[in-house]
């Protein structure tokens, strides 16, 4: 019991006065790179959690957004950087007079963060723009488009109850005035959806293409590859699940884009883009579609037991064991957090599929040292699978989560929002320290060259 292996322990819990929802978590990245958590309850004041370095403790703070009446209910919060050298934007959707015959839906856009300055709460109240909506907003996200001059332009996307996605962009002349963009072709991947869009996730592929995954309320799943130059769909895959898609996340198997490797040989780059898609669905088992760019929705892997704990509401992709490969975290309404890891399944003759190792190394770090050990071509010979490697129970249903560095130590934390509040889960620090020390030692002998290329 004493030596029980754990990935995360609860470093802090901040309770919320009211229930939150799946859209009310935002990651406020500071200029210095680490994050502040912003979580809002449906009713009442939002809360930020940050780590106070000098006092060594997590500090929750109440944040009051201007122009949100007391009786309003929040629907969704999203934060994004408009561009690299500009400050942060926080977009909030809310409903006023919820119990009346004609409730009003609003989108409020705040600019709390000027470039180069720290998070200034006071400016939240001063610098904002509010837009009344004639539809019920659901998911909120930001995207960017190339405008006519070839510059990227940040936009706010809202999915609406009439199965559309509405786009808002900033007025070119007046800062922080946002207008509805009526161009129907701005994002071709959202055309003629069968039901309300609940979640989408997109990735830009080498600056020329955009890969977007869209999940809808009736279980419809769409994946589009859009050319950024022509703004047209190159390829589109579709698939139907039996229940509402609660979350979609695109990810690569490796936890980092290959910054060093791709520089050396451009020819290999295209082969290595193997995007996977994790899909959680309300009533069904969560699945992973492997290598979607080549296979579409054909190569499906199941996350075993992920349907055993009530609705699955959120998924998170993070490298939680620091081996360079992404793990999948699934949060359920049944108060369970599940972690899955890709494992190569045993091949048909019974021998383990993982490449034959001369002497089984006990940990992944030693694996890295030995060039012969890692042998990817063999992987394709057998079917890999995702295995449940860790599980943690909570006292309350889980709504949403994100992996971010709240403590500012370079190590990520998992921020989980449950119906009761914000849980900040910290890694097993002694494990992390041991691995880090091991790698620092190893570095001196084997891979100093690698370090140079990266810098």
């Amino acid at each position: 019991m004493e030596t029980h292996k754990y990935f995360f322990h609860e470093a802090h819990f901040a309770s919320l006065p009211n229930k939150s929802n799946v859209y009310l978590l935002a990651n406020l990245r500071t200029a210095s790179g680490y994050s502040k958590v912003l979580v809002a309850p449906i009713k009442g004041k939002a809360c930020t959690v940050e780590y106070a370095q000098h006092r060594g403790e997590f500090r929750p703070e109440e944040v009051e957004f201007a122009y949100i009446p007391d009786d309003a209910e929040l629907i969704a919060i999203h934060s994004f950087c408009k561009s690299k050298d500009e400050g942060l934007v926080i977009a909030v959707t809310l409903v006023k007079d919820y119990n009346s015959v004609k409730p009003t839906y609003c989108l409020n856009i705040y600019r709390p963060w000027e470039s180069g300055s720290e998070f200034n709460v006071e400016s939240i109240s001063k610098n904002f723009c509010t837009i009344e909506l004639d539809f019920i907003p659901h998911f909120i996200f930001s995207g960017s488009l190339f405008n006519k001059d070839g510059e990227t332009e940040a936009m706010i996307l809202l999915s609406s109850n009439d199965n559309k996605v509405e786009i808002f962009q900033e007025d070119k002349d007046v800062a922080n005035r946002w207008n509805r963009c009526d161009s129907p072709d701005a994002f071709p991947e959202f055309h003629s959806l069968p039901s309300v869009l609940l979640w989408f996730h997109s990735k830009i592929l080498d600056g020329k293409q955009r890969l977007t995954a869209v999940g809808c309320q009736d279980g419809y799943l769409r994946l589009c590859l859009v050319s950024l130059e022509t703004n047209e769909i190159i390829t589109q895959w579709e698939c139907q699940h039996d229940s509402a898609i609660t979350c979609v996340q695109l990810f690569t198997e490796r936890s980092c884009q290959e910054p060093a490797a791709s520089k050396d040989s451009g020819s290999l780059e295209k082969v290595q883009v193997d995007f996977n898609l994790v899909v959680t669905s309300a009533m069904e088992i969560s699945v992973i579609y492997r290598n979607v760019l080549q296979n579409g929705f054909t190569e499906q892997l199941l996350l075993e037991d992920s349907d055993k704990y009530d609705c699955t509401l959120c998924a998170c992709v993070a490298d939680i064991d620091w081996d360079g490969e992404h793990e999948i975290l699934i949060g359920t309404y049944g108060q369970e957090l599940l972690a899955y890891k890709l494992k190569a399944a045993p091949s048909e003759d019974g021998s383990p599929c993982t490449p034959v190792k001369p002497s089984q190394p006990p940990s992944d770090q030693t694996t890295l040292e030995n060039d012969n050990v890692f042998d990817p071509p063999k992987e394709s010979q057998c079917k890999p699978s995702y295995e449940l490697i860790w599980k943690r129970s909570f006292g309350h249903p889980l709504l949403t989560m994100q992996y971010m560095d709240v403590t500012g130590d370079g190590l990520g934390e998992l921020v989980v929002v449950s119906t009761k509040g914000i849980h900040i889960l910290q890694h097993n620090l002694s494990d992390a320290a041991d691995i880090l020390m091991e790698r620092l030692m190893m570095q001196d002998s084997t891979c100093s060259s690698l370090e140079d290329t990266n810098d």
Binding site: M1, S15, P60, C256, L368, G410, L429
Partner: protein
């Protein structure tokens, strides 16, 4: 770093206390009818199998024993009066633990717990007991229960008991029973065996005999055993207003006379917080002998002074050493119970205090604290060890509620009390220091350290894998090329051969 700047903006309020909060999850819900006295919820090893159990006594006179993962009591007894206190310990000096209960009316019972295997054994055991005639059907082991409680002693002691303590208060290597009463009295009893000669036959019987009575100036909160710096036991009793009194045993100095003394008993009052206490009459609880850890391993002569903690109903929590306040916390909750528990399993005890509304504070010697909110009103609280699997005894918190339920939060072990970051952990490691020197990063450059951590934990392994993959791909490519070359040379060879052959043919 820069984020540490405290915003002084008006519309930001730290309404959430900054104390670290945790949520414990693994819990067991036990059904229980009736009401509980705060001192009638006890954790201990009742059946001497070194796995800890939970014993609960109700105001209706029911005694229940819970063990392991069972949600039903494994043994029970009833009709024990209005149970105010329950205790577990070697009260009979037999080298094993028994359960004892004390009722407000003064009824005192001692129970032995037995596994019921068969009817045969039950009757055999009954026959062996001396107190058979006293066993008037108060113990009703039901068929479904795997254990039964066997009453081995019953005695009528002075009524109005409030709190009990079983401890060796006079250093005679056997435990005495100390009872605190609601009428401001404390009495100490000893288990004594008597030989009775009747009709030429000698038989032995045992009972509790009164050693001493102390009368205190104010209401008694709780009793605890501390020690003097020379390791001599020091019995302490909490007094209102966050004070305590020391009770000294008069029989210790006067050798081993067991007759009750009629002299005025020395009660040494220790005023701690006359000025500090918000209310001088507020009820106070005390827990002594809060372990400082490593000192346990030292020779007993150099134990140093004892630390004890006190809490009050108006929300003061403090740690005291030699009547000096080491720290004190003021909270907005009514603290009614205080215990010590080594919640990190590192040898240091932490102070655990529970409020009536379920707010629980876990504080270590350095005032680092963690909160846990149990979302119900609490009538009795215990922190200690409880075994779910029958082998290990992880720390646990037990809450008795007003809604006929008892909750055991088992395995509440915390890795640490205060919040830490990875940088705090690795800052002093040699490898890391070397790396910093190599990279020319100052000790206070958090951004630089952060980048190193990020690179080695997240980016490097991925990069390594790419590199390896690329190597393999390159190798494949070269292999392909070689194959191709071979093929081409082969073909050319063949072609040459056929050509030569053709030429030969032509020539022919």
């Amino acid at each position: 770093m820069c984020c540490s700047a405290v915003p002084t903006v008006g519309n930001v309020k730290s309404v959430w206390p900054t104390m670290r909060t945790v949520v414990f999850v693994q819990r067991q819900e036990l059904e229980f009818t009736g009401n509980l006295s705060p001192n009638a919820l006890v954790l201990g090893d009742v059946d001497n199998d070194s796995a800890y159990e939970l014993v609960v006594g109700s105001l209706d006179g029911d005694l229940l024993v819970f063990k392991g993962e069972e949600t039903e009591p494994v043994a029970s007894a009833s009709g024990l009066g209005m149970i105010t206190c329950v205790g577990i310990g070697d009260i009979c000096h037999q080298g094993k633990n028994n359960i004892f209960t004390m009722s407000a009316e003064g009824y005192f019972y001692i129970f032995d717990i037995k596994v019921c295997d068969s009817e045969e054994e039950t009757s055999k055991l009954d026959g062996n007991e001396e107190s058979k005639e006293e066993n008037q059907g108060e113990v009703k082991p039901e068929k479904k229960e795997s254990h039964r409680l066997e009453e081995i002693h019953k005695q009528h002691l002075p009524a109005n008991s409030k709190v009990v303590l079983l401890a060796d208060i006079d250093l005679d290597n056997s435990a005495e029973l100390v009872v605190g009463y609601t009428d401001r009295k404390v009495r100490a009893f000893r288990w004594q065996t008597f030989v009775c000669e009747k009709d030429g036959e000698s038989s032995t019987y045992a009972k509790l005999v009164l050693l001493q009575t102390w009368v205190l100036p104010a209401q008694i909160g709780s009793l605890s055993l501390s020690r003097h710096s020379d390791n001599f036991p020091k019995l302490v009793v909490s007094q209102p207003g966050c004070n305590y009194a020391e009770l000294s045993c008069d029989w210790v100095s006067r050798s081993k006379f067991k007759e009750p003394s009629e002299e005025i008993k020395p009660v040494i009052h220790h005023p701690i917080t006359n000025k500090r206490a918000r209310n001088a009459n507020i009820s106070t609880e005390i827990i002594a002998n809060v372990s400082k850890g490593d000192e346990k391993t030292q020779i007993s002569d150099h134990l140093g002074s004892d630390r004890f903690a006190m809490c009050t109903l108006d929300g003061t929590l403090m740690l005291i050493e030699e009547d000096q306040i080491l720290w004190s916390l003021l909270v907005d909750h009514q603290l009614f119970a205080i215990t010590k528990l080594d919640i990190m399993c590192d040898g240091h005890d932490e102070v655990v205090s529970c409020a009536l509304d379920g707010e629980t504070y876990i504080v270590d010697h350095n005032r680092q604290s963690v909160r846990f909110h149990f979302e119900e009103s609490v009538c009795a609280f215990a922190a200690g060890l409880y075994s779910m699997d029958g082998i290990t005894n992880p720390p646990c918190l037990v809450y008795g509620t007003f809604n006929n339920k008892i909750f055991i939060y088992w395995n509440v072990r915390l890795p640490r009390i205060s919040s830490l970051t990875l940088l705090d952990v690795i800052r002093d490691r040699e490898e890391f220091k070397e790396k910093l020197k190599e990279e020319g990063i100052q000790d206070n450059n958090q951004e630089g350290m952060r980048k190193i951590v990020q690179y080695y934990l997240y980016e490097k392994p991925a990069l390594m894998k790419y590199q390896q993959k690329q190597k393999v791909a390159d190798k494949d490519l070269t292999v392909c090329k070689e194959d191709q070359d071979k093929e081409i040379s082969k073909l050319t060879e063949q072609f040459e051969q056929t050509k030569v052959a053709a030429e030969n043919k032509e020539e022919l």
